[in-house]
């Protein structure tokens, strides 16, 4: 069901790990739905993303989209990184099964969340970036669905 590229990025994920004292860290998704992505960015004084790393709890597509998203933002400026949309991540992976499209959205949100954290820490405003909506505590208070 997955493309060769998705399988490759799942089996050999690029940039897994943490960055100590990262410039920005963003965590999106929630355990209830089964996907959590955390992205770490190291951004230099010129606003270039020098390093990107991730940790993900989720399915094969969640791991692969995280891996691809880190690859795509590395070496980019903040503005360029904002243009790494879920579609760009999907295209770079040669597509995803329809039920897995939300994983690519999560990858886009993870980039945005990490950039938002960077902007907050540095007291700057990034043009075109809005506060990410998804967070890992979302929905935790909800009652379990009854039959």
């Amino acid at each position: 069901m997955y493309s060769e590229k998705v399988m490759d990025h799942f089996q050999n994920p690029r940039n897994v790990g943490e960055i100590e004292n990262a410039s920005g860290v963003g965590t999106v998704g929630n355990a209830k739905c089964g996907d959590i992505m955390r992205m770490y960015l190291d951004i230099d004084e010129n606003g270039i993303i020098q390093e990107a790393k991730f940790k993900t709890f989720g399915c094969g597509a969640a791991v692969a989209t995280s891996s691809m998203a880190t690859e795509l933002v590395k070496g980019k400026t903040i503005q360029e990184a904002l243009e790494v949309t879920n579609k760009a991540v999907m295209d770079a992976l040669d597509g995803l099964p329809p039920v897995k499209v939300h994983c690519s959205l999560l990858a886009e949100e993870a980039i945005h969340a990490a950039l938002w954290d960077y902007a907050e820490k540095h007291g700057i405003k990034i043009e075109g970036l809005t506060k990410p909506k998804s967070d890992i505590h979302e929905g935790e208070e909800e009652e379990q669905e009854e039959y």
């Binding site: 965590t27 209830k32 089964g34 709890f57 399915c59 791991v63």
Partner: protein, 398 residues
């Protein structure tokens, strides 16, 4: 051939070679329609009758109480919908459980839309139905109790005899979905006061596309599939003769080998469970420790997600299944794991391994080693594990 360790026998089983052999003549030479009067037709009829007798004998039932269907789901649909229809004048209330197979749950949801009321009983943390809750749920208009014999995901065996007693005492029909239990456990429909029982061929090394519904004499349900007069006018359609013959052959083998086979499976399963729980931290066994199907093991590994685990196991030649949302095609993880009280994130990290007659100790050792390494790898990538470790450090530093 690449290594293949098949531990998903609750999903389906390999058709036994002797079953295939028994079926073959009914494709190539004895292909006659069992309703025809010439000899190859009557030979089909005879084969069906003989198969029906074989199966009936294993349940303590009469041959004319066995009705062949196209599988377990049809049997479940038939039992529920036809009972609801036939007994609507008595009442429109049905009792079932939260951990049934979707063939039951979705049939119940369908009936609710048609004006029936359904009570879904809770189960305890081991997945056992609460009998006091069952007693309390019974109303004057209750027409059917449907409780599975054993659960397909966590393997928990239900107190069927007690449920049968309760149903009988209140004069309510009792149906059980025995798709997972039939061939694994001895079942007697009289001792357990079972009125209807569903079963499926491919779960016990028989062919796919064949099942049966046992209907006790006197239960007034009508035809679900309309057409010809097959199956005593209760289930139309030209009989799947090769399927029926293969099914009976598989049943014969399953019952002849039951004690030895399930003894071996139980021993290897316990070995698997013990090793996994001892060697992989933050792991739990789902389902009852002893009141469970002999070949079933179901684990939850904290901090990881089931689909990732399954793909990585598959790359090592191991077939298993998971109750994670990603494998169910919805956003919610398994309804069974939620019903036993697991939080979502732990339900997402589940792995079901179901052994077969040819599973060996070497297979189990290989699976444990691979699972250990994969769980460790996925945890090293998991933000939940990272948070857990960070919290631990903080706690220790205080």
């Amino acid at each position: 051939m690449e290594k293949l360790i098949y531990l998903d026998n609750a999903a389906t089983t390999k058709t036994s070679p002797s079953v295939v052999e028994a079926m073959l003549p009914y494709f190539s030479e004895l292909y006659g329609n069992a309703s025809s009067i010439y000899s190859i037709g009557t030979k089909s009829k005879e084969a069906i009758n003989k198969s029906r007798e074989t199966i009936a004998a294993t349940l303590g039932a009469k041959p004319e109480e066995i009705y062949f269907t196209a599988g377990g789901s049809e049997a479940d649909n038939w039992a529920l919908k036809a009972t609801a229809e036939a007994y609507a004048s008595k009442g429109k209330h049905i009792i079932t459980t939260k951990i049934e197979h979707h063939a039951i749950l979705h049939s119940c949801e369908y009936l609710e839309k048609k004006g029936y009321e359904v009570t879904y009983l809770d189960v305890d943390e081991d997945g056992v139905v609460k009998l006091d809750q069952l007693e309390k749920a019974i109303r004057p208009d209750t027409i059917l109790i449907s409780v599975m014999y054993a659960n397909n995901e966590i393997g928990t065996i239900q107190p069927i005899r007690e449920i049968g007693e309760i149903a009988k005492k209140h004069g309510i029909l009792f149906h059980t979905d025995a798709v997972q239990a039939y061939g694994q456990l001895p079942i007697n429909v009289d001792e357990c006061k079972i009125d209807m029982l569903s079963s499926s061929g491919h779960k016990l090394n028989g062919p796919k596309g064949i099942g049966f519904l046992y209907i006790r004499k006197g239960v007034k349900i009508r035809s679900f599939v309309h057409g010809g007069a097959q199956e005593r006018k209760r289930r139309a359609g030209t009989e799947n003769v090769p399927g029926i013959v293969g099914y009976a052959k598989a049943v014969e083998e399953a019952f002849a080998t039951m004690q030895e086979r399930t003894g071996q499976e139980r021993m290897l399963r316990d070995y698997l469970v013990d090793r996994v729980l001892q060697e992989i931290p933050y792991t739990r066994l789902n389902g009852h420790r002893t009141l469970r199907l002999p070949n079933n093991a179901n684990f939850s590994f904290q901090f990881i997600e089931g689909e990732s685990l399954l793909i990585m196991l598959d790359m090592e030649g191991i077939c298993g299944s998971s109750g994670s949302a990603c494998t169910s095609g919805s956003l919610d993880p398994s309804h069974v794991l939620l019903a036993i009280g697991l939080p979502h994130e732990i339900a997402h990290g589940s792995l079901r391994l179901t052994l077969g007659a040819d599973t060996t100790k070497e297979d189990i050792d290989y699976v444990v080693e691979k699972t250990k390494a994969i769980v460790e790898r996925l945890r090293s990538m998991s933000p939940l594990y990272e948070d857990f470790l960070a919290a631990g450090k903080k706690g220790a530093g205080k």
